[in-house]
Each structure stands twice: as C-alpha cells, then as structure tokens.
C-alpha cells in the first residue's frame, strides 16, 4: 500500500514481547527472524507429527473411557519378576530413563556442535544413537514378552480387546520414530565425524553446503521423540 521498500532491518535489534511478534510477522522476507528454513521446516513437521500422536492418544483415550469391559492394569501387565519379587512397571521405568539419558546426550551434542567440537559432537551423537537402539531393543523384548503372554491386537487374557490394539499401535508408531531417529543420528554423526561441516562440503542430495545446524535439527527431532514418550508413559502406562 505504501510505496516504499520495507526496511529489511536485519541488523537492528528487534523488539521483544507482543510488539516483537507483530514486528516479526509483518517484517520483510522472513517471519522467523533468526531461524533458518531448515529449522523452521523441522518445527513445522514436528507440529504435524504432534497432531498425529495426539490423534492416536485421543483415540486410545476414547476407546478406554467408553469400554464396558475392564481395562487391564498396566502396572501389573508390565511388571517384571526380579529376584523373586514382582516389580511393577519396572521395564517401562528403565526404558524411560534410557530415553531421557539419550535426550541429555543429544542436548550436549547440539551444544558441542555449535562450539565446532567435531569429535565430542560425533561421540555424543553416537552415544545418543546407542541409547536409542537400546530403547528399541527393550521395546522388542517387551513386545515379545506380551505376545508370549497372549496379548494380540484383537484380544488379551485380561480384559478389553482394545488394550492390545492401542498398545501395539501407539508403541509401534513411537518405536518406528525412534528407529528412524537412530538412523538419522548415525547419518549425521558420520558427516560430523568426517568433518563435512568444517569444510562446508556439499551434500550428496542437496548440493548445499552442510552446516553444524543440522545437528540441532536432528536434536529437535530426537527430543520430540522423547517428548512423545513422556506423554505415552503418563497416559498409557500410568493411567
């Protein structure tokens, strides 16, 4: 409407608070000022993924709340017998701690990535991947155990048929996300290790210069997977 080119204002300090929101959204070229397109894309993907997991959990909530048959008690179903005593939910607790540990190492990796510490970053990412793989392994163990005990997607010995259905579906989807995350981590860790981002080597697919920022983007994905587990742990196992 006004016929002047807008102030690009990149160098100026940007206002904070609500004024900042308005200023950013009405600014030239980019709405998210200090965010690269790669990071913005990851955030937006995660937002969409949030909706996917939310819909899974909402469906699970609905079938559980509306069933007339008793729901199996997860505390007992997921108990392990250790040294003769049955400890409730212990496997899930260990899995939770494994995943939180992996999140911690990932956060560290991102931090060292920005300090351009090639070796530490790669090592921490590999550690994260190892934790992730452990988590998936434990999940495989959990599935095997339940299947031996007679849990099927269509029935189980203890109550509502939807228990097995929701369990396999939700943990299956989460496990798939973790597996993809592990692969993603290994690929990026290899690139970090080789020093691709120090030499700004061009990527195989994109022929863009690689940057350490990809470590943070990987981190976003990984923390999201952890975040989803927080919700699954609370809503599926603890309910």
């Amino acid at each position: 409407m006004d016929a002047t080119p807008t102030d690009t204002g990149e160098a100026l300090a940007r206002p904070a608070g609500w004024r900042g929101v308005a200023a950013d959204w009405s600014s030239d070229q980019r709405a998210f000022k200090n965010v690269s397109w790669g990071k913005a894309m990851m955030w937006i993907f995660l937002l969409s993924d949030t909706f996917i997991f939310s819909c899974f959990l909402i469906s699970y909530m609905t079938v559980r709340m509306s069933t007339t048959v008793p729901w199996p008690n997860p505390s007992e179903v997921f108990a392990l017998t250790i040294g003769g005593t049955s400890v409730p939910l212990i496997l899930i607790a260990i899995m939770t701690f494994v995943l939180i540990s992996s999140s911690g190492t990932m956060a560290m990796a991102v931090n060292f990535g920005y300090r351009r510490d090639r070796v530490k970053t790669a090592a921490l990412m590999l550690m994260t991947a190892a934790f992730g793989a452990t988590f998936v392994g434990m999940q495989a163990f959990e599935w095997t155990k339940l299947i031996h005990e007679g849990v099927r997607p269509w029935e189980n010995p203890w109550g509502a048929a939807q228990f097995g259905a929701a369990f396999f579906m939700i943990t299956g989807f989460h496990g798939t996300h973790v597996t993809i995350g592990v692969i993603f981590l290994l690929v990026i860790a290899r690139k970090v290790w080789r020093g691709d981002f120090d030499q700004e080597k061009q990527g195989f697919f994109t022929s863009r210069k690689g940057r350490y920022e990809i470590v943070e983007i990987t981190g976003l994905y990984w923390h999201f997977v952890d975040l989803v587990w927080v919700f699954i742990f609370a809503l599926f196992y603890l309910w």
Binding site: E10, A11, R14, A16, G17, W18, G20, V21, D24, R30, A31, F32, K33, N34, V35, S36, A40, W43, L46, L47, T50, F51, S54, C55, I58, M61, T62, R64, M65, S66, T68, S75, P88, L89, A93, T96, F97, I100, S103, G104, A107, M108, V110, N111, G113, Y114, R211, Y212, E213, G219, L220, H223, D226, L227, V230, F233, A234, L235, L238, W239
Partner: protein
C-alpha cells in the same frame, strides 16, 4: 547471507544448564514412576501424573529444544495450533462418557 552466517553460530549455553535440566528430568521421571509404585489412586494420581507429564514436557521443549531462546513469533506459531488438539480432547472426553452411558443403558444384555 550475513543473516545465515549469524545463525550458523547458533545458540551457546553453559553445559551446566543442560546438566541441571537433565537431572530434573530424572527426578521427575522417578516421581512419576513412584506414583505407580506406591499405588496412589483417584484424583491425586491423575493430578500427579498430568502435572509431572506437563513439567517434563515443558523442560524438554523449553531447554532441550531451545524454545526458551526462540523469538515469540516462532513460539506462538508452534504452541497455538495444539489448542485445536485440546478442544478435540475435551470433546472426546464428553463423547466417551456419553458412549459409555449409552452402552450401559442399552447393551447390558448383549454384553459378551
């Protein structure tokens, strides 16, 4: 490209902060686990589960995912859409109660 160079430097925060957050996550997880371990029931259980869940989620998003240091434009863009999910959750709570009520009223005999 000056801008891209600036963001390539990225965000640097003291390692200690991460360790503290990490520690809290462990502690909170231990709390959630003990909610089950000590067989708390009823509203107290619900309250604790949801509170601990929200705290953990908040810590992860704010510090590990760096949202605490993003500009508000991004924060609102990411945090406002899930309100639609909350509406969906609320509606489905009422819906499931109603479905259960209908089932208990009409399907008592056909229960199998």
């Amino acid at each position: 490209m000056a801008h891209a160079a600036a963001s390539a430097e990225g965000q640097q925060h003291p390692v200690k902060l991460y360790l503290v957050v990490w520690g809290w996550l462990f502690v909170l997880s231990a709390f959630s686990y003990s909610v089950d371990y000590f067989h708390l029931q009823g509203y107290l259980r619900w309250f604790l589960i949801l509170l601990l869940m929200a705290l953990k989620a908040g810590l992860i998003v704010a510090f590990f995912m760096h949202m605490a240091w993003e500009r508000l434009a991004l924060i609102y863009a990411i945090l406002i859409p899930p309100v639609a999910v909350l509406v969906f959750v609320g509606i489905m709570v009422f819906e499931s109660d109603y479905t259960l009520f209908m089932r208990e009223t009409f399907f008592r005999l056909g229960q199998g």
